[in-house]
Symmetry: C2
Subunit: 398 residues, 2 copies
């Protein structure tokens, strides 16, 4: 709970639900007859409507990117490190829009919503949504908000993939695409981890083929396990080492700074938790599974797996960006092994081949993929400098 | 099935069960009143009994390291690439002993054995066994076979950890310790993956707290999932890429060499398997779970987690090797991210600080951790050269 709102916070914020009546045809061919998007905004839209920034969230994100919903909140929104007055996405300069994507569990239409065709919860019947579908729904939101062109569309990880899709699908509707810790598509290893996560969920006896709500239960253990797997891939080996002792892991009762201090007294010699990293993962998994919907998790992993803008261009990614008109800014993190710098460099190369303007920086950071959510000084600095330039270049503000 | 036994195979082999009556006190303090070890041998022991090599197996290994049990076998033993006439561990030169470790499911005393105290299967009551316990049981086997000193003790991964423990616990009883793709102890990330694997198994509704045999079932799905997680960590990103198309994954029906060819027709737009890497993992997981015991898998992961010879030396690993008398040979593989070259280098540094003689080579190989099981030419060559030298140095053969 914030005793008082920090001065660099956007403060207390309130999400708004936007209803869209026009049917949305998805990439699968299925149609959502209507849909809702849960949206938060921070800062003020200028009269020229030129200073709007769209935030795209990653696998487990939602519309609540910054600030607090109430004074009882333990934590601010998920990207509060980067959004606020004086922060990289400076709400004194920009009007920031953040939404929960379709298929999400934060209030937008998703598995927890009622399917108008049946009068029941969608649950597992919610159609597979792709990054392209999300961007199409976000374009509808742009229309609703009267924003013809975003100053920038910004996202990390799966969010970064949405910014790339914006540059392809709506080339005239954004000035800058900022993709952080992203990739042009998943590697086989990425997909493998996603499939393990999905199997964890669907193997849980409480999954009931996705209809767990009908049984008044949820596949909490499976979702926690999926999150544990994911969490390992978000953190670098260094991050884990730093968290759990100088020399990798420490036993649960450990007090040594060096080594794991395996004196017999410290070990369970059973299947209890012996090392801090285990209890940390359990905690992360359990906390997540209390607050997230398993069907949404499944959908998000499929959206990741399916992302590959090159498929419409015979596998030539550069051709996907030939009509893009925005400038690109990519950032990656040295210890990110989920979407490592090499994947961002693939993007840079293809953007250059397409004749696009692109800035790229690899940030030295110990925190792995999660670094994009954290106050890494060099990252915050580079991010701020770029967005100040974006602001300076904005069409004259009235 | 081999139509005929290849000329560089040890041929048809038969395991032998050795019974040990004297109680074995484990590191946990628990006592095995008696135990069996399932053993295979290849080649001939010379009269001086100086040409014996002990093979230590890794997480999922057993005594069947080389050759065939019958002409119906589809595959030879797990290390057949390295053991046989003219192979690195040359059975024309050496007498090779391979055993199933305590806690295993290959015939040695383990969870599938009857607990003499209760007359029932041990199941989850089988005590936690450590690398040290295994080496102590292997020393008993050495006595039984009349082998005072091994020409070499050799192992990869968890097997390599056993060779290191031999050098510490029985310094006079081996000439060479050969540890391949090993580590001085697990990293926090390694432990995290092991804990995910354990959770996969114990969360399976058929686990029944380890008493699944009483219910005439087994936690097959959980064990398969554990193996899937493990398998991802055994393979490098490169190995996966090479397996599943030039450019990472390919769709199930894919025929493109480049990209994943996400034409709508190829994708399930559901939770079926879309990419080959998924079906590959499922196949690996399911095949493994049909042939391995879940309680054994749990025990093996704990043996890995607990391994850390430095704990008896205030965290100073080099001190562990001060009394070692053997020579060391370490090999690592460039793309192994489970136990990467850096972990072998930690070992090298500590061995040097302890004044030990050590040879080390990092092998360029695309296959990740699994490379130690594969016919990587440079690896086979280095391994062969080293063991030829070991043979040349042997005490005069009579």
């Amino acid at each position: 709970m914030p005793e008082k709102i920090p001065s660099d916070s956007v403060g207390l914020v309130k999400p708004e639900l936007h209803h869209f009546d026009e049917p949305l045809t998805l990439r699968s061919g299925k149609v959502l007859p209507a849909f809702d998007l849960m949206v938060e905004t921070y800062g003020k839209l200028n009269q020229a409507k030129s200073n709007a920034i769209l935030i795209c969230h990653a696998l487990s994100g939602d519309h609540h990117a910054a600030g607090y919903h109430s004074m009882d909140d333990k934590k601010p929104g998920w990207w509060d490190e980067c959004i606020g007055p004086g922060k990289p996405i400076d709400t004194d300069l920009f009007y920031v829009v953040s939404l929960n994507n379709l298929g999400g569990c934060g209030g937008s239409t998703g598995p927890l919503s009622v399917n108008p065709d049946t009068g029941k919860y969608y649950g597992p019947d919610f159609p597979i949504v792709t990054v392209r579908d999300w961007v199409n729904s976000q374009a509808r939101l742009s229309d609703r908000l009267g924003i013809e062109k975003w100053a920038a569309v910004i996202g990390g990880s799966l969010g970064g993939m949405q910014t790339l899709r914006w540059a392809i699908s709506y080339p005239q509707r954004l000035g800058h695409a900022i993709a952080i810790a992203a990739a042009p598509k998943l590697s086989a290893q990425n997909i493998a981890f996603n499939e393990v996560a999905r199997q964890s969920i669907t193997s849980d006896p409480n999954f009931h083929e996705g209809r767990y709500r009908d049984y008044d239960t949820s596949p909490g253990k499976g979702l926690a396990l999926a999150r544990m797997v994911g969490h390992i891939t978000y953190l670098s080996e260094n991050a884990l080492r730093n968290k759990f002792g100088k020399d990798s892991a420490q036993p649960g009762s450990g007090n040594s700074n060096f080594g794991r201090d395996l004196r017999t007294g410290d070990l369970s010699f059973g299947f209890n938790i012996d090392f801090e990293v285990e209890s940390y993962l359990h905690y992360q998994g359990e906390r997540f599974s209390e607050n997230f919907d398993a069907n949404t998790y499944l959908l998000m992993t499929k959206a990741l797996d399916y992302f590959d803008p090159s498929v419409d261009y015979e596998g030539d990614l550069s051709k996907a960006f030939v009509n893009s008109a925005c400038k690109f800014f990519l950032m990656s993190f040295s210890t990110d092994w989920r979407f490592p710098p090499a994947r961002s460099k693939e993007l840079v190369e293809n953007l250059l081949r397409a004749g696009r303007r692109v800035n790229y920086i690899e940030i030295e950071a110990d925190q792995g993929h999660d670094a994009f959510l954290l106050p890494v000084p060099r990252y915050i600095e580079a991010f701020s400098i770029y967005l100040q330039r974006v602001h300076e270049e904005l069409p004259h503000e009235t």
